[in-house]
Symmetry: C2
Subunit: 561 residues, 2 copies
Amino acid sequence: MYEVWAPLATRVEVESGGIRRDMSLDNGWWRAPGDEHGVDYAFHVDGSGPFPDPRTRRQPYGLEGPSRVYEHARFTWGDQDWRGRHLRGSVIYELHVGTYTPEGTFEAVIDKLAHLVDLGVDFVELMPVAPVPGRRNWGYDGVDLYAVREDYGGPDGLKILVDACHQAGLGVILDVVYNHLGPCGNYLSKFGPYLHGYKGSYWGDAVNLDGPHSDEVRRYFIENALQWLRDYHIDGLRLDAVHALHDKRAVHFLEELAGEVEALSTVLGRPLTLIAESDLNDPGLITRYGLDATWNDDVHHALHSAVTGETHAYYGDFGSLAAVAKVMTSAYFHDGGYSTFRGRSHGRPATGVSGHRFVCCVQNHDQIGNRPLGDRMSPEQLWLAAGLLLTSPFTPMLFMGEEWGAGTPFYFFTDHYDPALAAGEGERRRREFESFGYDWKAPDPQDETTFLRSKLDWSEPTEDGAASLLGWYRDLIALRKSHPDLADPRLDRVHVRYDDDRHWLIIERGSMRIAANLGHFPVAVRVEPGHVLLASDEGTTLTGSDLYLPPLSLAIVHAKL
Amino acid sequence: MYEVWAPLATRVEVESGGIRRDMSLDNGWWRAPGDEHGVDYAFHVDGSGPFPDPRTRRQPYGLEGPSRVYEHARFTWGDQDWRGRHLRGSVIYELHVGTYTPEGTFEAVIDKLAHLVDLGVDFVELMPVAPVPGRRNWGYDGVDLYAVREDYGGPDGLKILVDACHQAGLGVILDVVYNHLGPCGNYLSKFGPYLHGYKGSYWGDAVNLDGPHSDEVRRYFIENALQWLRDYHIDGLRLDAVHALHDKRAVHFLEELAGEVEALSTVLGRPLTLIAESDLNDPGLITRYGLDATWNDDVHHALHSAVTGETHAYYGDFGSLAAVAKVMTSAYFHDGGYSTFRGRSHGRPATGVSGHRFVCCVQNHDQIGNRPLGDRMSPEQLWLAAGLLLTSPFTPMLFMGEEWGAGTPFYFFTDHYDPALAAGEGERRRREFESFGYDWKAPDPQDETTFLRSKLDWSEPTEDGAASLLGWYRDLIALRKSHPDLADPRLDRVHVRYDDDRHWLIIERGSMRIAANLGHFPVAVRVEPGHVLLASDEGTTLTGSDLYLPPLSLAIVHAKL
């Protein structure tokens, strides 16, 4: 049965095989018999069209072509033994399918799962996979939110990857974008009031979550979430930029979504995880709406600033070890105080929220790709930053290639076919960067080489054991898993001592002491007697309670208490 | 000391007595010596001006003239014995100063306080008193939010009225408008980013509560609230249309406001009450933000529809006794279900919220004045509606003149001096009414006679005892105060039986039975044996457990349990 919601239309037709047939109306939904797997079709609304199905599962000819019927039940799964994975205690690995491998496909990712298992991560997080304009895009310009990019491998390709992840013991988190739709190929408004009449963000019109007809608009997004979790066996969703959702209802969209996902989790018998990207520093996303976790940029900014010394733009209030101490014990740096970058007070305390509910990183697609030159932290910086992140009370997330200090950049890239967008993308980015206080000297997002240069170089990762950054990441993850004190998410059990002049800090986590010297001179600090479990520098020594730390080094001490 | 916040200005001058003097800058605030009581002054910002002070306390020459220094400490209060009044157990009386009396002044209201004391209400609620364009306005076009309309009597006039209320045993609630500013005479944007760049409502730009510099904008409104409560001895504020406040911060403006008011209450040693007008049916305004109460339109709509039979526009989901039963036990009719008028689901359950936290009415300025003909309920309808309202678990609010079934309408009226606004006001209203499904046949808001006809006619109220509507209101209020069961705010203790075909309902409140026959035929209903405390119709009889109710009558029975 073809089905489409078009509550204000007076006539809707389905076209398939060159034949247009009238659909019949029932309570806003139009229906017509048919929809055989593999058949191409499109809709005409009040005489205009053809338009793709708002819930199309396949767009074999791109954003502007017809949809293709795809039956989920035809796929044969091999992950019957998969019981799911909880966020607590896990490490996430974020990757962009198009640049993760030379091939840029789901299938090619499968070849790298052994690398990820070896690294020790628990979840793969895929940047958005919905169809986008052209052949190159981070994914946040997606439309046709129920479909999967054909160049990545389409619906079957994604299922095969998820199946393989599960059989390798890895969970899968999918990044989904519900706060806006891509700037072209979006035909939702031909069918119904999916969008508000006002500008939600610079990405375009806000989604209609609280106006007339918004019940069905909310269903559109909620059922999209359920599709991934149920029909694609996805284990969790990362919800893009929830601060750009406009919803004044007494029951917020995110609360409704969380309730529906919890119900599905009960039906499926495995944990399902919702993680919000949010700029609000509002623990209510967790405590009130019932989301499992949020991204936490403050932890990134504190660690990034402490390790790199950068204090421009939104790093302005960071750059001290006091800031690191604050986030390690409070999660939010801005928990009600003044944010210089925002020009106002920001956030509220996350009192009582478990640290594992904050997904934290020292690199992610934004923090690299939204730098004009897409440059990553240096390997020297990553040794220190990873040591702090992977021993923290938060849920750590790595960005592809970080684990070996990839030399490749991660640029912002697009492939708009709309001439105005193609010409304007660079300008839009320039304005955004200027608002962050950056000069704009980045490569052209539309240039294919900008994309190609962002692909990882798999000849880089070396296998020379503990002396390599890759070995350091493996060891840190292994230590985190074998010593529960290192993964303990209770923020009120974290104690930090630091010296902002000599650039050292010691984070106490149960019997573990994470001691870092971020300065260029050696330091000797006092810890309890014990033994060094892991050190980034061979010159680290512990004599009694005196820990000697070479410049730019980090050590993890197991104290005998 | 003259003081004004203008964080982006490069030069600010104060002009007084024909002399312009430069002010000096400290952290966004400009200051200059001076400000003697009674002196006129204005500001120049970066060469343009003169503009009135954003915090002007007097505008003796209107919105476009200079401000005048006014020292609060010069007023001598006589309400030293006033200990304040709690909302719980109280009855509110809303009035519009300009139409309450022939004179239309604070002073003239004082002459009516004996009437209000006699009626038995606890709080006077004044519609907004801030300066407005022209001589006639409901008050929601106010600007210069720290000032008081001169034609009402200015700051001293308001203080004299509050003082008199307190000495008469009445509390005072003031209606304040923080979600928008009036469409002319608003010079706030000359001084700083008080407004967001986007349209907040049809009233104009939204107030900047979460953008850059919004800390000081929030202070502007919060200190305004504190001024009324502290310097004018006001007992509570009614916050206009809080659903039109746009604030995504983790600490909402209303939560911050509630915290500040609670702190002031502790300092002053008397209760201070915050009541929100809200269209959100969101108990979080109370449970999360800490406001004391909200207006509740659902209760109005249910009672209005049940008594009048009207089911057009936003009355669409009401009109049944089932709806009355729902609101009497749940406060919200729309507590998550579908609202036809809104075309979407609406609200959430108010579980656990005490009924007295909902301010409810059968008439108010909006529910009368926003009818095209400004017509009130008929006296016959008010007998029934008042009987249901004044025995309800909510905080009842009356609208001026309702208590005697005033024959005068309450129209929407304005006196815009801006020609475009003067010409456009009728058209704006017409569009709004059409959106409610009304035909637009109302008198011209700009016509002075529209205002004059809205004034109460004090020759109307009759004093012929229990047979008069005025007597009925007095008796109901007295009964509510003498029988705690009638004011019990616990919604889970309310039980309602009803028959939608024969149009009767019985509301059980402890040992009290409120029995209403809303139909045009007599009915006999069963209650417990007891005695009739009050009946709107002399023909009411209680024989054993059989209560005979004449058509369109209401009786309150004290059951012997």
